[in-house]
């Protein structure tokens, strides 16, 4: 009972149901002796079966048992070949993926046994400058005017005029308390977007340091912003990122090996894609 449950859960079972219909259709179709393939089993294979069986049952198989083993092997081989001949492996995403993976890992296995020298890594570093580029970073202060004010934007504008006039209240006395920070140091644009929203981050990134600007809208309200420092993006020194370069090198080796293998193999194929235009 339990075994049947397991079988019903097994994807192979569902696959065989589908395959079964196809198989039955083919079963009566072709049987010309001249087209017969040969299955040959040599002594080495028989010895292998014997020793495998010995490990399983603790002794060498008897004649009858060996006969069964060979018989089973032949049955399996016939079904295996027929399944391949019928292209059943192509219907099955698991089998397909598994085979593709197996080949890919074999290819990559070979590709990553060597270790790169410094010179080679430096070359890669030069090629990947953009990847290793440290982004622009911004340090800024902000004054917050929450959305629930009657006129948050108007209040922010008035405060900006006050600040620019240099008279009256200090930044701390203006606006509403904010749950997070009033001063942010060395933030890149995605970090600012994470804290305040994308539009706000873009506006902060475009500011010149030294003055209060705004109001700019965030996910929470309106803000006046003063950029205190803008650090330009720069390329780090090779030695500081050598480990990452190495990781990239291996990554590239794996991809390259796969691409090359594919290039080589695809030359033996003619690939035609017939796509129907959808209206």
């Amino acid at each position: 009972m339990r075994t049947w449950k397991k079988i019903f859960r097994d994807p192979i079972f569902h696959f065989s149901l589908l395959g079964g219909a196809l198989f039955m259709a083919d079963f009566y179709a072709s049987e010309t002796p001249s087209e017969r393939q040969s299955i040959e089993i040599d002594q080495a294979q028989i010895e292998w079966m014997k020793s495998a069986s010995k490990k399983e049952i603790g002794r060498l198989p008897g004649d009858r048992e060996l006969e069964n083993l060979i018989d089973n092997f032949v049955r399996e081989e016939v079904y295996f070949r027929e399944a391949l001949a019928m292209g059943l492996e192509r219907d099955d995403v698991i089998v397909r993926r598994r085979l593709v993976q197996k080949l890919r890992f074999l290819v990559e296995d070979v590709a990553t046994v060597q270790t790169p020298g410094d010179e080679e890594l430096r070359r890669l570093f030069d090629q990947l400058r953009e990847y290793f580029l440290e982004p622009e970073r911004f340090s800024f202060s902000h004054i917050y005017f929450r959305h629930s004010r009657e006129d948050a934007r108007g209040d922010a504008q008035k405060s900006l005029v006050q600040l620019k006039g240099g008279k009256g209240k200090t930044p701390k006395q203006l606006g509403d308390p904010f749950m997070m920070r009033y001063h942010y140091a060395n933030q890149n644009q995605p970090q600012i977007a994470e804290s305040f929203g994308g539009d706000f981050a873009a506006q902060v990134a475009s500011l010149a340091p030294g003055q209060w600007h705004g109001p700019f809208q965030s996910a929470y309200g309106w803000h006046l912003v003063k950029l205190s420092e803008k650090r330009d993006s720069y390329t780090p020194a090779f030695d500081d990122v050598k480990e990452s370069v190495m990781a990239q090198w291996y990554q590239q080796q794996r991809e390259k090996a796969n691409d090359e293998a594919f290039e080589r193999l695809q030359k033996t194929y003619q690939i035609k894609i017939h796509q129907t235009q959808e209206s």
Binding site: R9, R97, E108, M179
Partner: protein, 625 residues
């Protein structure tokens, strides 16, 4: 398998080779150090292809890929999906199953006998049948280390397990960048239960000083053995903590005071638990373990992302059985048990805070967005499989799963020490995957005006306690002028996730014990859109926020960017121990299953909600007389 594993084991150590042991920075050396704490989001529960089940399901992304992903880089999974986080994580723990440590090392050896070879080969044949066979083997008590692989040569298996652990530690050290990104060494201790249940713990180490072996379910039969072994082997600079998860699938063991074998905790065992386990993972891909409606809990929000059925009640009696969640399968009830135990033990052994995480088996740390969900396991990669549309008749698919949650931590800076400290003092909260920002304090004389004070945060820390802490009455009485009739004030401040829906309301959950019986109240304490909780129901009125499930657009004109409030417990009793925690709800938005349905051009499934309300749960604050 041997070939593939050889390839993988070659890939693994490479990143690790050049890694010198990362110098640990002492406190305050990163630029962002802040006494009033910064907020960091992480995932403390990530499985890579090192976990036997993840591998079996087809995951081939190892530690290196998982770290790159957590830091924001795009990776391509074995399914062909290329995927990337919209926001990188601040910290991560790769928590692979300790029981499969060594498996891939042993299987890569060229000295395998036939039995071992067969076993290793089975791992390369993605199959639920083999997975269930392994699981059934694992359920046997006492557990045996991978019999087919190890029983002929245990020494090799133990050596190989250490080798995997070396790689895990080296990868964490290599990826740990103080001030930028924190990587902790860790693993999952995973004894399974019948009916696909589990009583698991993630083990996390403070720094690179750790024992040189993992304590798996093969090494420690019960969690008590786990803690005892860790205490014995993790000494000196070494510090650990453990985090339980999926209490919903413990078949009521989680807070029962019993071990997996049914033995009762002794008093000293409770002490062990208190020392070892400051947090609980209450939300992840396999559902919420916060509370069970009508199993001690009284509020409807407990239905959120429930994975397994609740155990039925007959004549008011809960019918416990493997396969359903009972009362002691939920964190809220654990907190209540803690208050009960405090009376007999003199200390509260279940004083734990909350975090969320993913438990992804796809190496995709922190990938919690509903709209980009690609399953938490390789075999869930297709939307049809997730929705159960790939079979006739259609099955339930993976409908009761979800993309998982995040761990939020208030820490002085992004370093191992600072984040580990925060986890130990429970200044953490859980989210359902969103990045709601949440502050929560309790104190004796918080004025309403504090909410409008630009120095409020300094004052809240100075005069009160943050989430996860204990507010003591007697101690306060000596130092300040707290009158016996005073009630504590709570400050709650929540900001929305800038990339998610607006906030809808803030709820307070209070639990206490009265005449030996645990009690609770759930209040809506602040509503968005200028609304107030209804006096009769205690709930915020409908704010009119809607979702168009044809395209998943939401009402952006409803709800709030921030909600802040001060609250005082109307029923405060100074002689009664209690815990208080906050739940913040977003406006409704589409559940992942609705996004999947839209992408397939089918109607959202009937047997799952079309929309959810993403949320955050603060760690509790305890009041002790």
């Amino acid at each position: 398998m041997t070939k593939m594993l050889a390839a993988i084991s070659i890939l693994l150590p490479l990143s690790v080779l050049s890694a010198d042991s990362t110098a640990e920075l002492t406190e305050g050396l990163t630029g962002e150090f802040s006494e009033t704490r910064n907020l960091y989001f992480g995932d403390t529960h990530v499985h890579t292809s090192l976990s036997f089940d993840a591998y079996l399901f087809g995951n081939r992304s190892g530690l290196e890929d998982a770290y790159r992903f957590a830091k924001g880089e795009a990776i391509t999974l074995a399914t062909g999906n290329t995927t990337q986080l919209s926001t990188p994580l601040d910290f991560v723990v790769m928590a692979d199953h300790a029981e499969s440590f060594g498996l891939f090392e042993t299987c890569s050896r060229d000295t395998l006998n036939e039995k071992q070879r067969k076993y290793c080969t089975a791992f390369d044949t993605p199959s639920m049948t083999f997975f269930l066979q392994l699981r059934n083997e694992g359920v046997q008590r006492p557990p045996k280390r991978l019999p087919s692989l190890c029983e002929d040569d245990m020494a090799t298996c133990l050596t190989d397990s250490r080798t995997t652990w070396d790689k895990v530690r080296a990868a964490a050290d290599a990826h740990n960048e103080p001030g930028q990104f924190t990587a902790f060494s860790g693993y999952e201790y995973s004894p399974p239960l019948k009916k696909r249940g589990k009583i698991h713990r993630n083990v996390i180490f403070r720094n690179s000083t750790t024992p040189d072996r993992v304590v798996s379910a093969f090494d420690a039969e019960t969690v008590l053995d786990l803690w005892k072994t860790l205490e014995a082997e993790c000494t000196g600079e070494c510090e650990f903590l453990t985090i339980p998860h999926n209490m919903n699938k413990t078949w009521d063991i989680a807070y029962s005071g019993k071990t997996i074998d049914g033995d009762s905790y002794e008093d000293k065992d409770w002490g062990l638990r208190r020392r070892s386990e400051p947090l609980a993972e209450i939300f992840q891909i396999k559902g919420s373990s916060e509370c069970g409606y009508d199993l001690g809990a009284s509020d409807e929000e407990c239905h959120f992302e429930r994975l397994v059925p609740l155990c039925p009640k007959v004549d008011g009696e809960i019918q416990l059985a493997p396969g359903c969640s009972g009362r002691l399968s939920f964190a809220r009830e654990g907190l209540k048990e803690g208050l009960k135990l405090e009376r007999t033990l003199g200390f509260n052994p279940l004083q734990f805070g909350f975090i969320g995480s993913t438990d992804t088996h796809n190496s995709t740390a922190g990938a919690t967005e509903e709209f980009s969900y690609i399953g938490a396991s390789t075999h869930e990669a297709s939307a049809k499989v997730r929705l159960g549309l790939n079979t006739v008749p259609k099955n339930k698919g993976k409908l009761n799963r979800n993309p998982g949650g995040l761990a939020a931590v208030w820490a002085t800076e992004n370093t191992r020490d600072a984040i580990f400290d925060s986890m130990q003092r429970r200044e953490t909260y859980a989210t359902s995957g969103t990045r709601i920002k949440l502050r929560f304090f309790a104190g004796w004389h918080f004025e309403q005006a504090l909410l409008e004070d630009s120095q409020w945060l300094d004052k809240a820390y100075r005069d009160g306690v943050p989430m996860g802490d204990v507010l003591a009455h007697t101690k306060q009485k000596e130092n300040t002028n707290v009158a016996p009739e005073d009630a504590p004030e709570f400050l709650i401040w929540a900001l929305k996730d800038a990339k998610s829906s607006n906030l809808q309301r803030v709820q307070m959950i209070k639990g206490w014990v009265e005449n030996g019986e645990s009690k609770e109240s759930v209040f809506d304490i602040a509503c968005a859109d200028g609304l107030s909780p209804d006096a009769a129901t205690g709930r915020c009125p409908d704010n009119g926020a809607r979702v168009d499930i044809a395209n998943c657009t939401v009402s952006s004109d409803r709800g709030a960017g921030e909600i802040k409030t001060r609250w005082r417990d109307p029923d405060f009793n100074a002689d009664q121990s209690a815990f208080y925690y906050i739940r913040v709800l977003e406006n409704p938005s589409c559940r992942w299953s609705t996004f999947d349905a839209i992408s397939l051009g089918v109607a959202p499934p009937d047997d799952a909600p079309a929309t959810i309300q993403e949320r955050a749960w603060s760690s509790p604050i305890w009041y002790t007389p």
